[in-house]
Assembly symmetry: D4
Homo-oligomer: 252 residues x 8
C-alpha cells in the first residue's frame, strides 16, 4: 500500500464511507512492503542510490539475460557479477549496450547521466592472481560513479613498489586491498593511509591457504585498526561499501 | 500504537480534526512494535503461550533475581536457566515461592493454574554425565505443563536397557535425546519411534569429542529422518520446541 | 516371528509337542525383527505412516529404477530424492506414473487415496538459489499428504517482503526455512511464529560460507528457541519431521 | 630527520660546507622514520587525527598507568581498552582526570577542545550480553568526537523493537552492530540503512558458537552488501573505522 | 527375565495354568535386558570376562566411592579411571583393599584369583609427559591379568633407544604406543613388529598440537597398516582392546 | 650385510687377515638393513606372514601392472588396492591369474596353498553405500586366508536387522564395522560382542558429514571400549589388523 | 633514484641551480624503489644471488612462455614451477634451450657459468607419491647451483632403508624432507643429522590426511628442534631456503 | 656398545677366545644405542655441538632442578625453557651459577669457554606482547654462542620503524621473526633480507587469532620464499635452527 492508497483509505474515513474500526483493521494488517510500494531490491536501490545487481553464478545464462534486460528496461544502471563469457553473450544479445569486463567477470550497463565522479577509491592487489577480484571491485565502483585508481602487483615482499605509490594511496577516500596467501597487504596499507581500508581475502594460494581462509584470518587480526573485512573473493561487496564511504566524504 | 490508539487517530480523521494526509504520515511511520503494544519477550510469551525465560549465565545473581521478581510480579510462570546455587539464593530471597532444581541448574516459578498436562515428552539420555542437560529439558517441559518421562542412562553400547523402555518411548508425542561422546543415541531412538526426535549434543567427553562437536556432527548426520538437532547442551531449546510439538498433537 | 508364530509355538507347548526347555531356547534366540515380521524399512513405513524413500545419489539409474518399481508394485507411495534427469527417465520407463520434479530433483509416485490434507506446512527460503532444497522439502511434504505454502525469496536483508507474508507463516503447523550464506532467516521467522521452525542450511554461498557450514552454525546458535536444525541441504529430512509435527496437530 | 634537518643539510651543501657525495650518503641511509620525524604511533595519530590508544590486556597495571600518563603529558586525548578496574585505579592515581567506563572496560582522557561532534554513529547490539563490546565501541567513538546513538537489545527474534528504531538507524553516518550467537543482526540492519554497517561478532554464546566464530562466519556471509566485518569482540576497531567514515561525510 | 523365568512361564503353559495367548503377550513385551537377567555393565563384564570400570572424571568423590564399594561387594575386580587423590581417599576409606596408582590416576581392586598372566602387552611412550596415559594403559592391562612391559621415553628423534628394545617389542602379543606432539612413534613401532599396534594420541604439546589433534591425525594416517587408533588420552580403551587381542592369542 | 657376511668378516679377523680396529670400523658403519638382508617390504611380509600390497591410487596402470607381475614372479600372494578397471585390465594382461573385485576395487593373486582358514572375521556395514569399503576389507582378509562373514546394510536406525545377526557377530574373532554419516554402528556392535571392533569411517554422506570426518569423530568417541579406529575408507588397514587379531587367536 | 641521480641533484644545489627547499621536497618524496634503482623481483634476484622464478599455476601457457623468454633475454637463469607439459611446449618454442622436468613439473634454463657446486643438499622423501614435490625441490636446488643427493622412498615404517643412507644424510649442509600421510619422517631424520631439516608436507594421502594438513601439523609439532616447516607441497620454497643455508656454510 | 667394547670383542676373536659365530650373534643383536655409547640427548648434544635442554613446562620445580644440576655436573652448558620463577628458585638453590631470564622464562648455565661468537642472528618481533617468545629465542641463541641483535616492536602497520633497522637486518646470518595477530612481519622482513627467515607465530591476539593459528597460517603462506616456520610460541626451536644456520656460514 503506497501513500496514495493510504490517502484514499483515510479520505474514505473522512467521507464517512469507512468506519474507523474497519480502517484500523485494514491498516494494522497491511503487508509492510505495500506501504513502501516496492519489492526489496528496488527499495534498496532507491535508498542507497546504487544500481541493481545480479549475482550470475547461481543462474543460467538465459535467466541472467532475462533479468538484466528487465532491469535495463526500467532505466536503471545494471551490474551482473560472476558472469562467464557465455552469459555475457546471452546478455549482450538482449541488451546490446551491455559491456562485458572479462577479467572482472562482470557485465555492466550504464544508463544514468555520468556527472563528475563522486569520491575516489584506490583498488590495490598483491599479486597478478588477485587481479580478477580487484577488477570486480574496480568495475563495480566505476559503475557506481566513483573514480578508481588501480594499484596492482604490490605485494609485501617488495616494499619498494608499494612505497612508490603512497601518493595515490593517500589521495583516496577509501582503499580496497585484495590479497591471497598470507593476506598481509591490508595491514601494511592500513598503516600508510588515514582512511578506511576494506580488505578482500582472495582464494589465491595452495596448501595451507585453505582457499582463502588463511588470508581471511590474517586480515581479521590486522594490527591496523582501520582495516575491515569482507568475504573471500567478494570484490563487489568491498566496492559497494567503499562507494558509500567515498561518496559520503563529498556529501550524500 | 495499539488498536485503541489507531482507533483514536481514525476517529479524529472521522471528526475532521486530523487531515488524511497528516494521519497518513503518522501511520506510515509508526514504530512496528507500538502496533503490537508490547516489547518482544512479552509478545513471544503471549503468542506461544509459553512462560518468560531468563538466561542467567551472562547475568549477576542480583540482576537475575531482580528480573525474576519483576516477571513474577506480572503473574506469569517464570524460568531461569543456567543458574548456580548463589543465584538461586538471591532469587529465592526475593521470590520465596521459586524452586531451585540443582541438577538442571534451573529456577522455576509456577503461578498458572495447572490443569491436566498437555502432551507427553520422553527425555532420554545416554550416560549419567548427560543428566544435567536432560534435567534442564525435563524441568523446562514440566513448567510448560507437559508430562515428562525421564529415561536415563540408556547408552547404545547396551541395547538391552534401551529396548526395555520401548513402550515409554513410543507413548511420547515427542522425544528429547541428550547424548555426548559419539552422539549415536538419537539415531537409534529415531528408528524406534514414529514421532520427532530432538537431539541435544552434550559437551560430555574428552579428547576428540571437542566439547560436544563430535556428538553434534553425529546427530546432524543421523540416518533416521525424524531427528532434528539443537545447539550443544541446549536442553532448554529442545524442551521449548518439544512442548510446541506435544501440545500441538492435542490441539493448540 | 510374528504373533501367530509365537502362538503356534506356545500351542505346541500346551499340546505337549514341545518341551518348555526347547521352547525357551527358541524364544530366547529369536531374531528380533522376526517378532515384528518385517524388515526395517517396511517397519518404519508402517509405524510412521510415511511412504518408502530412496536416496538416489549413491545409486545407479538402473538400481534406483529397479527399487522404485518394486516399491511401486507393493502399492505404497514412493519417493526418490537426489535424482538427476537420467535417473528419472529410467524410473519413468519402468513406472510410467512416476512424476519427476526437476527443481526438487525428486521423483514421486502417489498411489494412496488422497483424502484431505493433514496439516499445513510453510516452506520458506531466503534466495532463489535455495529453491532446490526448498522444493525437495515441499515435494516431500506434499507426497506425505500435507498442505504446503511456498514462500520463496524473502531474505533478511529485505524485511518488507517477509513481513508481508506473516499471515501465511502464522497459519502453518510447522515452518521449514531453507537458507544459505549467513543462515539468519530461521531466527527471524522463529520470532514471528508460535510453532516449531525446522532450519535447513543450504550449501549456497562462496568463500567463508564453507559449503553451508556458516549457515549451519548460525542456525544452531539461533536466538529463537523454537528453531531446530537438520543437515546441510537436507530438505527431505526437514519435511519428514515437519509432516510428523503438522499431522500430530490434527490427531495421529 | 624532519624537514628542518633536511634543510639544514642542504644549506650546508649550498654553503660548500658539505660535499654532495657526503650529503648523498647521509640522505640515502636515513632511517625512514626520521624523515617523517616521528615514531609510528605518533605518526598515525597525526595522520588520522585520532588519539593515542593503549591495549591494556597484555600489560601490567603499572605499565598501562605509566604509558597513559606519558601520553597525557603530551597533551593528546588518550584511550586504554581492555582495562580492568585495578588498572583503572593505577591510571587514575597518576592521571586523576582519567575516566573509567566499567561496562566498556575502557579508560579515557579528553584534553582536546570539544567542538561540536563530527558525524553520527549508531551502535546497535543484539542482546544484553553484547553490551560490553558495544560500549567499547561507543566510548571509543565518543572520545573520537562522534555523536553516538546507543540502540541496545534489539535481536532479530523480535523485529518489532528493531523496526521501532529505524529513524535513529537511518540518521547515522555509519552503523556498528555487535552480535553474538548467530550474528544475524548486521544483515537485517544492513537492509534497513543506506550507509556502511560495521559488524562486530561477539564471543557471546555457548556450544556451537565456538566463542564467536559462528557469528563471525554469519557476518562474513551477509546477504547485505554494505556489511563489513572486524575481529571478534573488536569494538574499538569498529569505532575507529566508523569514526573515519562518519567524519568523512562532513569533510575531513 | 532369565532362562529360569522363561522356563517357569513355559511350564505354566504346559501345566495349562497359562493360556498360549497370555504367555505370548508377556513374552513379546519382555524388556530385552530381563531376558539376559542383567543390566548392561554386568552383562558386558560377563561376556568379555573383563572387570567393572568406573569413569571417575564426571563423578563426585563420594559417588565414585559408593559405586566402587558396591562393585567390590559383588566380588568382582574393580577399576576406576581418571581419579584424583581426593577420590582415592574416599574410595580407600570404604574399600581399604583398593590401590591408588598416582601416575595412572587409577584405583584398582583385585579380588579374582591371579593365575598366570594371559598374554603379554608392551606399553610404549614417546616422552616423559606421556607417562600418565601410558600408566593408565599399563595398570588397566595388569588388572585384566596381562603381563605388561613398560618401554618409556623412546621418541622418534632418537632411534637408538627405540632400536635397543626391539626384542621386548617383538615379544608382545599387542603393542600400545602413547605419543603426543607429532604422534610419529606408532608408525615406527608398527614397522618393527608383526602384531597390532594400538596408538593413543596424548594431549601433550603446545601451539599447533591443538591438544592432541595433531598426534591423532598423524596416527590415523600412519603408513604402517597394523596401526589402529583410539581417542586422545584414552589409555584405558587401548588396554581394554589390547587385552582382548593378547588374550585371544592364548585361547579365549 | 647378512649373517654370512658377518661370519666372513669375523673369520678374517680370526685368521689375522683383518685387524680388530678395521673390522670395528666396518661393523659400526654397516647399513642397518644389510644386517637384515632385505628391503623393507619384503621384510614386513616375511615378519607378518601377510602378502605384498600395492596401493594403486597414486600409480599409473602400467606401473601397477609392472610391480604386480614382479611380485607375482616372486611366488607370493599379491594384493592391489584402489585399482580402477583400466588398471585391472593392464594387470590381467601381464598376470592372467589375477582376479579383479569390482566393488572392492581390488586385484588379488593367490599363489599360496590354501589350507583351512585361520580365524574368522565379520565385516559389517551400515548402508549400501558403504559396501565398497566393506568389500575392500573382506577381499583383503580373504586373501590373507581368513574366513569372512559379510553382514551388510544393518544401520542403527533399524535395530531388528542388526539383532538378527547377533550369532554371526559373536562367532567372529574380530569385527570390522564400516559406516559413514553419524558412524554410530561400531558402538552398537561393540556392545554386542566380546572381541575387538575395528571401526572404518566411510566418506559416505553429505553436508556436515565433511567427507567422513563426522563418522571418524563419532567412532573415536565411542562409548564401547573395545572399538579402535582406522583412517576414513581404509578397509585394507582394518583387514590387515583384524587378520593379525583373528590369526592370533588360533596360534601365530 | 640511484646514487648518481642523488649526486646530480646535490651538485645542482652546490651550483646554486636548485634551492635547498626545492631539493628537500624532491628528496623527501622520492619513491623508495627509485633509490634502489630496480623493481622488486630484480632487486631480490640481485640481493640473494638466486635466479628469477615464475609460478606458472595461475598463468596461461602463453603468459608463462612470454615471461620466461623475457627473463631469458636478460641473461639470467630462469625457473618456472607448477608447469604442465602444454606450458613446457609453449616455453620451449620460444626458448629452445629450456629444459622440462616432467616429475618436478618445472622448466629450467641455465645461462650462468656453472662453477663447482656451492653446498650440498639431501632431498629425502617418504614414499613414491611424494616424488613430485621432492623433484621440485631437487631441480630448484640444482639450478641454484647446489649439489643434490636424492634419497627417495625411505618411509618411517621401514627404518632399515633410512638407516642405510645415514652417511649421505650426515654429509649434507641442509636436508629437505618431503612426506605426506602422518609426516613423521622429518622428526626421525632430524634426530639423525646435525644440520637444519626443512620439512615439506605433501598433499599425499586420503581421508583424515585432509590434503596434507595432517602431515603439516605433525611437522610443526616435531620433537626434533632442528625441523622447520614450509607450506604443503612447497618444494620450491624449501629448496630456496636450503640453498641459502648450504651456500652460507661455504661463504656467501 | 662403544668402540672400545667392539675392539675388546674383536680382540677376543683375534685371540681365539671367541668364535666368529658367537661374535656374530652378539654383534647382530647389539642394541643400537650401545654402539654409540650414549643415550639420545647426549648423542644429539655431541653431534650438534649444542647444549642440553630441559622443557620445564611438564615437570615439577623439583624435577627440573634435579635434572638441571645433574646436567651441570656433567660440565655442559644447560638450558631450561618454559620455567616459571618458582622453578628458577629451586634450580638456583641447587645450581647457584644458573641465571634466570624472567621475560624469556628461561634458565641458563654457561660453563663452556666463551670464545668469540659464531654467527649473528637478528631476533625481530612485531609488538611488545611478542617479547616473551622473542626473548626465549634470543637467550637460547646467546647460550649457543651466537651474537644476537634484538629488534623489537617493529610491526607492519608502521613501516618506518622497520625500514630504519634495515642495516641490522641485512647484517644477520639468519633472522628470527616473532609475530602474533596476522603474522605478516616475516613476509615483509623476508623481502628485505637475503638470508633465511625463521618465522615464529605467537599466541598473541584474541578472537579469530585462534591462539596463534591465524599467524601460523599467514606465515606458511608467505609470499617470500626464504621464510620457514616453527610451531606457535616455539622461540627455542627457532633459535636452535638459526644457530645451526649462522654457525654454518662461518664453518662448522
Amino acid at each position: 500500500m503506497n501513500r496514495n492508497t493510504i490517502l484514499d483509505l483515510l479520505a474514505a474515513v473522512e467521507r464517512g464511507e469507512l468506519s474507523p474500526a474497519a480502517a484500523s483493521d485494514r491498516l494494522t494488517n497491511l503487508p509492510f512492503e505495500d506501504i513502501d510500494h516496492t519489492k526489496i531490491d528496488h527499495h534498496r536501490s532507491l535508498r542507497s542510490g546504487l544500481p541493481e545487481v545480479i549475482y550470475a553464478a547461481g543462474k543460467s545464462a538465459e535467466q541472467t539475460a532475462e533479468i538484466f534486460s528487465r532491469m535495463a528496461a526500467a532505466g536503471s544502471d545494471v551490474l551482473a557479477t560472476r558472469a562467464d563469457s557465455t552469459t555475457a553473450q546471452y546478455v549482450q544479445e538482449k541488451t546490446p549496450a551491455a559491456v562485458y569486463h572479462i577479467q572482472a567477470r562482470a557485465i555492466t550497463l550504464r544508463q544514468s547521466l555520468t556527472d563528475s565522479a563522486r569520491g575516489r577509491i584506490a583498488v590495490v592487489c598483491a599479486g597478478t592472481s588477485d587481479i580478477a577480484v580487484a577488477e570486480e571491485a574496480a568495475v563495480t565502483a566505476e559503475l557506481f560513479n566513483c573514480s578508481v585508481d588501480r594499484i596492482y602487483d604490490v605485494g609485501v615482499a617488495g616494499l619498494h613498489r608499494l612505497l612508490s605509490v603512497r601518493d595515490e594511496l593517500t589521495a583516496a577516500d577509501a582503499v580496497i586491498v585484495c590479497a591471497g596467501m598470507e593476506g598481509a597487504l591490508p595491514s601494511v596499507v592500513g598503516g600508510l593511509v588515514g582512511v578506511p581500508v576494506i580488505a578482500v581475502p582472495t582464494s589465491v594460494g595452495y596448501g595451507a591457504s585453505f582457499s582463502g581462509a588463511a588470508a581471511l584470518l590474517g586480515m581479521l587480526n590486522s594490527c591496523s585498526p582501520n582495516v575491515v573485512v569482507v568475504n573471500i573473493d567478494n570484490g563487489f561487496g568491498a566496492a559497494y561499501t567503499a562507494t558509500m564511504i567515498a561518496r559520503g566524504s563529498q556529501g550524500r
